[in-house]
């Protein structure tokens, strides 16, 4: 099928097909481990949600579902662009490949930007477990009640709502870490593309395995949206940036 004159075929493989399917298999296996990694924290979250349903819904109600939704769309679009990048690599179109990879990176960075904004807003609203949770929020002249006081008013346990927020930060934090790794990988692909690494079209498979990882990160976000953001009741008044 392919004789190796350009150093594309590694020494321990017999042909390109074997090398490519091995790369794909390896990444799918890795994604299974990632599924169990996230699965661990999801199951812990679910255990507590079974025990403290009202508190978890109350916590979820305080999350910014507008930013959550925007981030969903950004990440989804980046999944599209990276898939188009595979196409470009497969057809040997270097410029298109670089464009789509760059688009993916920019969309991912935009996601992180909105996330940072969201974390800042959460901080402003004292939605952080610990001492801050019980401190009233001073906005210039008047003070808003602290989240702990809100919990009392809504007749849910403040401790349990803080537990929800621990999960919120841990789960979204883990997700952010995975995105950073993904951005690093895609940036590296971009640099390789700059250097002509993807001129042999057989090498499209490395864009494909990176995209598998990236789609997985997107999938995790869908579930974070569902479990963290969409659980509790939201109102139009919360839809602000």
């Amino acid at each position: 099928m392919s004789t190796d004159s350009s150093g594309v075929l590694a020494h321990h493989f017999n042909n390109m097909e074997q090398q490519q399917s091995t790369a794909r298999l390896g990444m799918w296996m890795f994604l299974v481990t990632e599924a169990l990694f996230f699965g661990g924290i999801f199951v812990a979250y679910t255990a507590y949600r079974i025990w403290y349903p009202e508190a978890f819904l109350a916590g979820s109600a305080k999350l910014n579902v507008l930013i959550g939704g925007i981030n969903s769309l950004l990440l989804l679009t980046s999944s599209l662009t990276i898939t188009l990048a595979i196409h470009a690599a497969h057809e040997g179109k270097q410029d298109a490949l670089k464009r789509w990879l760059l688009a993916t990176i920019l969309l991912a960075v935009a996601f992180l930007g909105f996330k940072a904004r969201e974390y800042y807003l959460d901080y402003e609203e004292h939605l952080i477990p610990g001492a801050l949770f019980s401190k009233p929020i001073s906005e210039g002249e008047h003070t808003k009640p602290s989240p702990a006081q809100d919990c009392e008013k809504d007749n849910v346990s403040a401790e349990h709502v803080q537990l929800f927020f621990m999960f919120y930060y841990c789960m979204t934090g883990l997700h952010v870490l995975h995105m950073l790794v993904g951005i690093g990988l895609i940036s590296w692909l971009y640099l390789l593309a700059q250097r002509g690494y993807f001129k042999p079209p057989e090498r499209y498979v490395y864009v494909e395995v990176t995209s598998l990882y990236w789609h997985f990160v997107d999938m995790m976000w869908f579930f974070l949206m569902a479990l963290l953001y969409c659980a509790g009741p939201h109102t139009m008044a919360q839809m602000h940036l």
Binding site: M16, E17, Q20, S21, R24, L25, W28, M29, L31, V32, A35, L36, G39, G40, V43, T46, A47, R49, I50, W51, P53, L57, V65, G68, G69, S72, L73, L76, T77, S79, L80, T83, L84, I86, H87, H90, V205, E208, S211, L212, H215, F216, D218, M219, F222, F223, M225, A226, L227, Y229, C230, A231, G232, P233, H234, T235, M236
Partner: protein, 99 residues
């Protein structure tokens, strides 16, 4: 085992799937306004599940992937099921009145 060496799905199919998943994003946000209470979780998970299936089948090229790939995905889901089923059984059957 994996026969991807040639055909790639069409770009149109990618855009269609993209629009479908985007629609589900709006639906998910909409559900959170619907005040379904605790049973909202079923709608939420259903939507996330649908989004993941679409993403996996089309963007991750599970469509047309070999048996081994599907076996790997199946194994992952099976083991997740073990983790969830057995662990959550404790939280569903143990009375929290003791705490």
């Amino acid at each position: 085992m994996n026969e991807h060496s040639g055909a790639q799905p069409s770009k149109t199919s990618y855009f269609t799937v993209f629009l479908l998943i985007a629609g589900l994003v709006f639906l998910a946000v909409g559900v959170s306004f619907a005040e379904l209470g605790p049973s909202a979780v079923y709608a939420n998970l259903l939507i996330a599940g649908l989004q993941s299936c679409l993403l996996g089948y089309f963007f991750m090229h599970l469509k047309g992937a070999g048996q081994l790939t599907w076996l790997i995905v199946g194994a992952g889901l099976f083991w997740l099921a073990i983790l969830f089923a057995l662990l959550l059984t404790d939280y569903l059957t143990r009375h929290i009145a003791a705490y």
